[in-house]
Amino acid sequence: MLVRRFPRAVGSLPLLVAFVREFFAERRWDPDQAYDVDLVLEELFTNMVRHARGGTSEIEVGLAAGDGALTLRLRDEGVEPWDPSQAPAPDIGRPLHERRPGGLGLHFIRQLTRDLRFEHVDGTAIVTAVLQAPR
């Protein structure tokens, strides 16, 4: 697994994109196929930045590939137990004037992942998301 730590800030997003491109380049994958990985990673990372209580100054991100899957793992140390998977799904069928943007990030993640797991072990939140690997 390729692992790196990033400052806990939305300003890290360009660094995350570069990290994903580096991972793709190592495997000679087409960078045009990175959209879904970028999206899932941004949504998970910004969720941690905005909603996790406590935490160190950095969040660890890992990427791994195998068996046709791409696995994303985020580790956030020193945070309170936190499981966004319990949040209700957004009602995307509501009329326009009643629509709110909240909850869409997790909704997108669920659309794009084969497997999604939230754990909290010894003060560390670990999120593992599995996507289809590019072909």
Partner: protein
């Protein structure tokens, strides 16, 4: 990096990546738009939920004022995100 360019009367171009880092700045740019708008998204390479929030807020504001807000054309991957969000039809994307 995200950019909103005026392309003519009632037409703008959205360029680059509309993500969580760019959303706040983008919202200020969209707030200056008035009247019915068609946004050319052929060079919009990426949008996340933060960017969708900006587009939703703009659509709601312009619709309340009696105007329309349409996105055309839109790249396939970006279009998928609008579909996931249940906004494709409201924005004239199909």
């Amino acid at each position: 990096m995200f950019r909103l360019d005026t392309a003519g009367e009632g037409t703008v171009r959205l360029i680059g990546r509309l993500d969580g880092e760019e959303a706040e700045r983008a919202l200020k740019a969209f707030a200056a738009l008035e009247g019915s708008i068609v946004a050319d998204c052929s060079e919009l390479d990426y949008i996340s939920s933060a960017g969708i929030g900006v587009i939703l807020a703009t659509l709601q504001r312009l619709t309340r004022a009696g105007h329309t807000f349409r996105l055309h054309p839109v790249q396939p991957r970006v279009r998928n995100v609008f579909k996931y969000a249940g906004l494709a039809q409201m924005l004239g994307i199909e």
